[in-house]
Amino acid sequence: MDSFLNVTQQLLSGFGENCYIFIVTLLLAIPLGLIVSMGSMSGFKPLKWLTKTVVWIIRGTPLMLQLFVVFYIPPLVSNGSFAFPRMNAALIAFVINYAAYFSEIYRGGIEAIPKGQYEAGQVLGMKKSQIFFKIVLMQVVKRITAPIGNEIITLVKDTSLASVIAIPEILMNAKDFSMDGLIWPLFYSAVFFLAFCGVLTLLFAFIEKKLDYYKG
């Protein structure tokens, strides 16, 4: 019994790290993704291609590798005089990675809005910004709720990847127990993820229901 409480406590403290990465990534990647999506839809071709190339690189390489790059490359090129603290390195990699994915979801959502909605706003004398914020945005939010929810649930589990740069998150703590011959904490850690994702699933179902007051 003593060991169960001890394990729970250790795993919980690790899961705190996961939650911290999760929340900061969401708070920063959601707005950053919108800016990136604007870049990839830009009429200014160089910006568009630059953005698309960056998104390709970020989506085309493993997040684990990106964590290594952010953490190990700065000290290598600066001869050890500069390095990000571990947690900051993890956050940078996660935010950039998720912003790239979010940006593509936004782009899909924005491009799916019929041209007629923009034209209706135009003939009613609205400014471009008014058309975006008063007409288009709400419709985009409705369209992207499900894919964003999917991505957010993936993020919950991806936070474990931070262990590759030695952030003491839940799986790393569980693995430490297994090194001492205690295997079950590894499986027990699934409970934390399941609980967290369960809450998120309920939350997204609620949001989708809230947005279901109209069709189209």
Binding site: G125, Q139, Y214
Partner: protein, 269 residues
């Protein structure tokens, strides 16, 4: 002087010349119907008037004010275009209501934004000085318009819960709420089931008064004959024939008009 003057409008999409030197004029209070087969340029003409397309050449004048001049139009500011396009109202074939807003919100949204902007810049909007008063005015006007299109009881419904005909009537009220000089209809009944076209056409008929100027692009020949003061028949980007309904529909001169109308008679009688 005519209310609307369109001079030599020319519009191409790539190599495809869609409008070839279109000129016509319209008096205040007149209803103009534009008929013609698909691809003849009717809709493009209407879109040019509403600044949804930019002609390569030509001139558009409303009440003596030059709105568009292909020679001097290099890069007009967005704010200028916004002001100018408000001379025209537009009702689309596919309604284009804003799905997330209730019927009443669809109608008051644009006037409210306009009121905010005007109060900020000039301190006055339609004779009132505060946004609260302006809002009240806009709401009263919207309710009057909804009554006019016969949908007062639907004011809190969402567009998805309305029939196509009802949606189009809301779209008409929405366009009227900005008090345009000239109201344009782009095939307003083409997306509707046949049994729903009547209610929309009746609303448009009901709008016809001595000072409402309208341009209707339509395939409803009967309707055009009943409502229009003037009919333009377009073919291949030119005005093939124009005149009163009597002249164009009952007694067409151009062989293409004759062919077009006889096809209609075969199909619909």
């Amino acid at each position: 002087m005519s209310m609307l003057n369109v001079d030599n409008i020319q519009k191409s999409f790539g190599k495809n010349e869609v409008l070839k030197n279109i000129s016509f004029s319209l008096e205040k209070g007149e209803v103009l119907a534009i008929i013609g087969s698909s691809g003849s340029g009717k809709t493009t003409l209407l879109r040019c008037l509403n600044f949804l397309e930019r002609p390569q050449k030509g001139k558009i004048t409303v009440n003596g004010e030059v709105l568009f001049d292909g020679d001097t139009y290099s890069k007009q500011k967005e704010s200028e275009i916004r002001k100018k396009r408000l001379h025209f109202g537009m009702v689309f074939q596919s309604f284009n209501l804003f799905p997330q807003y209730k019927v009443i919100e669809n109608i008051v949204l644009a006037p409210q934004l306009q009121a905010k902007e005007q109060l900020k810049s000039t301190g006055e909007y339609m004779g009132v000085k505060t946004y609260k008063e302006a809002q009240q005015k806009i709401m009263e006007n919207a309710l009057v318009l909804l009554e006019k299109v016969g949908l007062s009881e639907k004011k809190d419904a969402y567009p998805c819960n309305l029939s196509g005909g009802q949606q189009q009537r809301v779209a008409i009220a929405r366009a009227l709420a900005l008090n345009p000089d000239i109201l344009c209809f782009d095939e307003p009944t083409s997306a509707l089931d046949p049994e729903l076209t009547g209610e929309v056409l009746n609303v448009i008929k009901g709008l016809k008064t001595s000072d409402s100027t309208m341009i209707v692009v339509t395939h409803e020949i009967e309707f055009a004959r009943d409502v229009a003061d003037k009919i333009i028949f377009m073919a291949d980007g030119v005005i093939a024939e124009e005149g009163t309904p009597q002249q164009v529909i009952n007694n067409p001169q151009n062989p293409r008009t004759k062919a077009f109308l006889s096809r209609f008679k075969q199909n619909f009688s």
